[in-house]
Symmetry: C2
Subunit: 332 residues, 2 copies
DNA sequence: CTGAAAGCGCTAACAG
DNA sequence: CTGTTAGCGCTTTCAG
């Protein structure tokens, strides 16, 4: 039925060990017999069974990826970075969506581990105790991409969110704004949100402006949330004249919320986003945004993972990639 | 070291067959011994090795997915549909990017097959002979999602592109337009483009309007291509007053191209998109677009695949999902 | 440079 | 209801 290494061995008059050697590029094979085996492999259309190989060698050449939601451009971009580097190192990827649910994340870790993945790249807004526990329980290397665990004990790739946020707000401060809103995803738990908020606070502090909790609006990170945020915030007695949005989609919502009500950007309000996705160019005015190198974060995370999987030397387990502001027209 | 089914058997004083039975939910186990085994599993923190299981059972509970580019929202949405249904049926997904390159597609098929996936969902603009050949060579079921092979011999899930395009153009015709542009991805090979073009032609024909090749602009499907298309087309002696864009991103490019030059949508030109992605609501005016149910296409494709994998009865191997026009403000 | 043999961890008859 | 026994297809010593 399916043809195996054994069939090849028989047809080529060699042992299966020899076939295995040529399949795996082992040099200890006489060129002549290598050719002979290769010919038979070709003729029989033999295709090695990776599962059997995985069982015997205890290496599957596949890595697991846990992300919140692949249909979200943010994560999709990151996933692509991961996949490209994985491919480069001859790994395949088992892609799973967690929807940010802790129980799912734990369960996914477990099923990935049962599938004997050689490593895992994970994104999680919050590395809970349960997750940490699961991670500590295994020898399989795991690296976080665009995610932070408080204990700083899991390898990770990020940018310095706090610094980036600070810089964004300072950019707004430069233009003379005193009332700057910070609109972002739910501020409940996520570590990264907290870091951004801290950057926001530090920027204000540096400019001698009092922090006003009324200007901090924590919703979700969606377009409609941006519209909603604007609707709420502009009704304040002393409304913000500038907005720092947690991501681009949200920021565009803010812009449209304002524009739909006759306000002009950047004349009446200035907006700066975070992510610099393709979207940023697809609004009018085009959105000024902090460049979050999603693809690179994924790529570097995967590269880091390969080092762990190959027991290479690791210089730094917690990598921070550079970021910058992409100036466009939503900020003067 | 790693604990196996054998360890559990020993500790529980049963045979490994019994352990296997409880792990697999086989009913032929006395409740008492089941409890005993479960307790040991818990205590030893035993986790079945899916690779060994796959080798023995010849089922891996993983399916391969070949898409052009996961960082493209279009495909990401589809991938999510696939993943959700896969999860529902307890399959995991090996996700691979082909970048539409035939040689990569062929190679990916091969590596997925070597990994013994139980099935494959594939998206490909063009199912070439090579690909068809590779597919025919295996017993592993494969279904196409949002893709068509000319021979109609591979199961697939789509919408009726030709009809949808026809309807879109007719919508424009309704508003009295005589000069309607068809802007789309490269018209070179892709079957689906051809179908849309045909729908466009038929709509014109139905309205007694002569087909003008000058109004057909085949670029790529990107935002900038939309801008470019507008720049070129509006300079025509008799420029189009309405545009049918191959997808939303492209259509938004057209809108912005026009707006950036002082033209108004829908007053000066009307635009209808194709896809109805989240983007459609994120422009002003909001984009009227044909609803392409990407998520559903992925989901249904995966569901269809499960039927093949379980040898269930298949009513129809080539499924067509419904589509409709989502009316917004880029068309009067 | 090549072969023999022992597993990898689990499923699946087949007995009993 | 439970145990025994073969493999699944390949890698990996260990000899030679």
């Amino acid at each position: 039925m399916t043809i195996t290494i054994y069939d090849v061995a028989r047809e080529a008059n060699v042992s299966m060990a020899t076939v295995s050697r040529v399949v795996n590029g082992n040099q200890n094979v006489k060129p002549a017999t290598r050719q002979k085996v290769l010919a038979v492999i070709e003729r029989l259309d033999y295709r090695p069974n990776a599962v059997a190989r995985g069982l015997a060698s205890k290496k599957t050449k596949t890595v697991g990826v846990i992300i919140p939601d692949i249909s979200n451009v943010f994560y999709a971009e990151l996933a692509r970075g991961i996949e490209d580097i994985a491919t480069m190192y001859r790994y395949n990827i088992i892609l799973t969506n967690s929807d940010q649910q802790e129980n799912k994340e734990v369960q996914l870790l477990s099923t990935l581990l049962s599938k004997q993945v050689d490593g895992i790249v994970m994104m999680s807004d919050q590395v809970t105790k349960e997750i940490k526990h699961e991670i500590d329980r295994t020898d399989v290397p795991i690296v976080l991409a665009g995610s932070i665990d408080n204990s700083h004990t899991i390898p990770s790739v990020n940018i310095k969110y706090e610094e980036a946020a600070k810089e964004a707000v300072e950019r707004l401060l430069q233009n003379g704004h005193k009332r700057i809103a910070f609109v972002s995803g739910s501020l409940a738990a996520p570590v990264i949100q907290q870091q951004k908020l801290k950057g926001y606070e530090r920027a204000l502090e540096g400019a001698g402006i009092k922090f006003d909790i009324a200007l901090v609006y924590g919703v979700d990170n969606k377009y409609d949330d941006g519209i909603e945020a604007w609707n709420v915030l502009h009704k304040l007695d002393d409304p913000p004249t500038a907005y720092f949005g947690g991501n681009d989609e949200l920021s565009i919502g803010i812009i449209h919320g304002a524009q739909d009500n006759g306000f002009k950007v950047p004349e009446d309000l200035e907006v700066i986003g975070f992510e610099n996705s393709k979207l940023a160019r697809m609004v009018r005015p085009q959105l000024t945004s902090i460049v979050l190198p999603l693809y690179d974060i994924g790529a570097v995370a995967m590269r880091l993972l390969t080092k762990f999987m190959n027991n290479e030397k690791i210089e730094e387990e917690n990598v921070n990639l550079p970021y910058r502001i992409e100036e466009r027209d939503s900020v003067k």
